[in-house]
């Protein structure tokens, strides 16, 4: 038997495709029921994105990717870090305040700010990890609570840290000066748009690579995956599960801390009340959709970014509510979760059948007389 079983691969790819098809079908039903123009909607959907839209989609996917990786680190351990949202906001704020002080010059300021973000996210998530390990508090509950606390804590601190800009009603931290900004990556010559990709897309790719490398190539990653697959077996194999829970929560939070960085250094140059929000929750959906796989998540993040980007076209081009995008996203997540579980079961059954069949064939070859008997 080969390592990459084509049937298993096909099954793996079929699940999300089927789920997306089902979602499109269900959405059409909803459109028909609401009396909206199905044709115009799908025309908007399948229109090739303009160059500037491609940039927007990839940029959106970049932050979603980081968020989904943070969520996936927890998922791999059977830990549900619902708190990526709070973690990244705390971290973005801390990094924005730090970077805005310009205690360090240029790139050094950026690098140390990134470390500040990682640490803040890690500490925030570490609270939930500590509560779980020390007090047995479910990480689902504690991270949701910490999201609320993060909201109010950041709002409170932002009041103190805010820098007033004459004529503006927005509240935000000090603007990071030119020398500590990460320049965008221009795709000039490939597609025609002055817009640029976030320079920190490189960071997202690096995080994705590290995620893959640590999980599949290191002892630590093995212990982490083993704990996720079977906590009891991991304990018996010598994994200190409590330590793993705390560590993976901290690492997940550290990754979450980076979510806002492409925005901070590549677009907003400050943290305030108009920065993109809700990325942590979207990350959960993207991680589910991408099956916690570093490449799968990349595709899922692009799909998510693509769908988000549609909300304007649907309103302006097709004249339907942008809420349709939320409906489709919701349906896709649910269909995908169902499809994955079904295909996982089907895959296991397929393999068991094949093992039984191959062994039977082997036996028949080795002991032809037993068949006769």
């Amino acid at each position: 038997m080969k390592r990459l079983d084509p049937r298993k691969l096909a099954l793996g790819a079929a699940a999300p495709l089927v789920a997306i098809l089902v979602s499109l079908l269900l959405t059409s039903v909803i459109l028909l029921a609401a009396g909206d123009p199905v044709g115009a909607v799908w025309a908007q959907f399948f229109k090739a994105p303009l160059p500037r839209q491609i940039i927007a989609i990839v940029n959106e996917a970049t932050v979603l990717y980081l968020s989904a990786i943070a969520v996936a680190i927890g998922f791999k351990m059977n830990l549900f870090n619902i708190g990526v949202d709070g973690q990244y906001r705390v971290a973005s704020f801390a990094a924005a305040v730090f970077a805005g002080q310009h205690w360090l010059p240029g790139w050094l300021n950026i690098i140390v700010s990134l470390i500040v973000a990682i640490l803040s996210g890690a500490i925030w998530a570490g609270i939930a990890g500590f509560l779980k390990v020390g007090r047995g508090v479910s990480e689902v509950i504690s991270t949701i609570m910490l999201n609320y606390i993060a909201t109010y804590l950041v709002a409170y601190l932002l009041k103190g840290a805010a820098v007033k800009v004459e004529g503006s009603n927005a509240t935000s931290t000090a603007i990071i000066k030119e020398d500590s900004r990460v320049p965008g990556i221009s795709l000039d010559g490939i597609i025609a748009t002055p817009n640029k990709l976030y320079g920190l897309i490189v960071l997202a790719i690096l995080v994705g690579f590290l995620y893959w490398f640590v999980l599949s190539k290191t002892r630590f990653g093995f212990d982490l995956r083993a704990t996720g697959r079977s906590e009891t077996a991991a304990v018996a194999s010598g994994v200190k599960v409590k330590r793993m829970v705390l560590l993976s929560m901290v690492i997940s939070g550290g990754a979450a801390g980076l979510v806002g960085m492409p925005l901070l250094f590549g677009q907003d140059y400050a943290y305030g009340d108009t920065v993109q929000s809700g990325l942590g929750f979207a990350g959960i959906a993207v991680a589910l959709l991408g099956r916690n796989h570093p490449v799968g998540i990349a595709f899922a993040a692009l799909l998510w970014g693509y769908l988000n980007q549609l909300s304007n076209g649907l309103q302006i081009g097709a004249g339907v509510s942008d809420r349709l995008v939320l409906i489709i996203q919701g349906i896709i997540v649910l269909s995908v979760v169902i499809a994955y579980e079904l295909s996982r079961r089907a895959g296991l059954r397929l393999e068991q059948n094949r093992v039984a069949a191959e062994l039977a064939a082997q036996r028949a070859k080795q002991q032809p007389k037993e068949v006769a008997a």
Binding site: V235, G238, Q352
Partner: protein, 520 residues
């Protein structure tokens, strides 16, 4: 005929299912269904109890053809099932447990109590409705389970491996109950692979092998050996102790180990003293739940003893972590391999790494050395005869015996000094069983100190150099497997026959070693 099954076929992936089952059960008899583990007995019974539906074939109860879609249908048809694992709430009384889910029959009050007493008297079950289940022993709990089924009006009872959890004296009691049920006109279907028991109680015996019925025999005309050979389809293996390889070099020494229970409970382990020498197999007998699992957890470092020490070749390892203990050379065959020994959804080569994540050939520094681990998995598959098409299939797709051989191969690949084997042949087929026995004997020959925990007395007697019995967290004195009888062990396991069998109970560690040394 109470039950007639005709041409029952049930297909499952990867396991022996049922194929063309033919079975006729006469009313008012005890009908035994025997077969080795994994032969398809339990699947068949689940089909009869409506838990699973057959792909082909017909079921007739009292001459009437039925389709059983759920246990509710089966109960309506007068079929009741007593599962191997009891489903009783400890903190409720017998009456509350019995009426739970059947409140409509006789209410939940005095009428129910009266009905429970009536059934108990009619069949000699000796069940008192107001007793708290927590206070009752295993035998009594089983009788409650039987009563629960009778209370719901069952005329046909299915008992799935009812004796697995009982000691010999309780088995005798159970069989007396079954005879009473039979005398009252009820039909009992009795699943077992313990042939002596089957022969003593059954009126008819149906043998299942590889998912199909191969013979119906009369217990008066066969002996246990013939029956066993029918089950296996070939000559029967049995564990045979070889010449003693016991040395006087202690490898694993346990001194005065206590493990506290929950608040207000008695100790789970109570003054355990045990020495295992190089080349020695010490067998631990006992009814499940008397501290065997905890003893293993203490040795493996999953729990720290409340007091006392564990020494590995003279080094105190009582407060070491699991990983350190495994690295120091303690191999572990866990009682429940699915929960503690394998990652069922991971490929075999990753399972080969499990438990040895820090050791060559699995790792190089902090990195997993997948190439070497895979090569070594191929070696284990070959050397230990793990039947698998590839090392890339998930562990869950292998049969139990092959999973166990993989675990043993893995544990033996790191030059262990001690092997802790908990129920090493539970749930594996006969072929794999004898090769696992051989592997354990090889380990002993190679000078390992082996702790063997088993519920199978035959296995213990056949493999061990010394047998100790564990009861309520305490170890009895040493028994010589060559001379001990099943009754002696049974008495020690229940603590029933006090003084006689507990003769060696006061022996110290010192006398242990002398008696061990003296066991040829």
């Amino acid at each position: 005929m109470a039950v007639e099954l005709h041409g029952i076929t049930k297909r499952f992936p990867g396991v022996v299912a049922n194929k063309d089952i033919e079975l006729s059960v006469r009313r008012g008899t005890v009908h035994a269904i025997v077969g080795e583990n994994g032969a398809g007995k339990s699947t068949l019974m689940k089909i009869l109890y409506g838990v699973q539906q057959p792909d082909e074939g017909t079921i007739a109860v009292n001459g009437q053809q039925l389709t059983l879609k759920s246990p509710t249908d089966a109960i309506k048809a007068g079929i009741g099932m007593v599962f191997q694992h009891f489903m009783l709430a400890d903190n409720l009384t017998v009456r509350e447990n019995v009426v739970l889910g059947a409140e409509k029959l006789h209410g939940i009050g005095d009428a129910a109590s009266a009905e429970i007493r009536r059934i108990s008297d009619a069949y000699g079950l000796d069940v008192e409705p107001d007793d708290l289940v927590a206070d009752l022993g295993v035998g009594a709990r089983q009788r409650i389970e039987i009563l629960k089924v009778l209370y719901r009006g069952a005329k046909i009872l299915i008992l799935d491996e009812p004796t697995a959890v009982l000691v010999p004296q309780e088995v005798t009691e159970l069989f007396n109950n079954l005879r009473e049920l039979k005398a009252e006109g009820l039909t009992v279907m009795f699943i077992s692979h313990k042939l002596d028991e089957v022969l003593s109680v059954a009126d008819d015996i149906t043998v299942i092998r590889r998912g199909t019925t191969v013979a119906e025999v009369d217990p008066k005309t066969v002996n246990a050996r013939q029956l066993a050979e029918l089950m296996v389809g070939s000559a029967l293996p049995s564990p045979q102790t070889e010449e003693s390889t016991v040395t006087d070099r202690p490898v694993l020494t346990i001194q005065g180990v206590d493990l506290a229970g929950g608040a207000g409970r008695r100790k789970v382990l109570d003054g355990i003293d045990l020495t295992i020498h190089a080349g020695e197999i010490v067998g631990i007998a006992g009814v499940e739940g008397n501290g065997q699992a905890e003893l293993v957890e203490v040795i493996m470092g999953m729990r720290e003893p409340t007091s006392g020490q564990v020494f590995l070749e003279g080094t105190d390892i009582s407060d070491w972590q699991v990983r350190e203990i495994r690295e120091a050379g303690v191999g572990y065959i866990p009682e429940d391999r699915h929960r503690h020994g394998l990652l069922l959804e991971s490929p075999l080569w990753e399972n080969r790494i499990l438990g040895h994540q820090t050791q060559a050939p699995n790792v190089k520094g902090q990195l997993i050395d997948a190439k070497s681990a895979k090569a070594d998995t191929e070696r284990i598959v070959k050397d230990y005869d793990v039947r698998t098409p590839s090392i890339h299939v998930t562990a869950g797709s292998l049969s139990g015996g092959n999973q166990q051989k993989l675990i043993i191969g893995r544990e033996m690949s790191h030059a262990p000094k001690v092997l802790v084997a908990a129920h090493p042949t539970r749930g594996v087929d006969v072929g794999a069983q004898s090769s696992i026995w051989d592997l354990i004997k090889t380990a002993r020959r190679n000078g390992l100190a082996v702790l063997l925990i088993s519920a199978d007395l035959e296995e213990l007697v056949g493999l061990s150099d010394t047998i100790r019995v564990i009861l309520r967290g305490k170890l009895s004195g040493a028994f010589d497997p060559d001379t001990v009888t099943r009754e002696e062990l049974g008495s020690a396991m229940t603590g029933a026959a006090g003084a006689a069998s507990a003769a060696g109970a006061g022996t110290t560690r010192h006398t242990d070693s002398t008696s061990d040394g003296g066991t040829p």
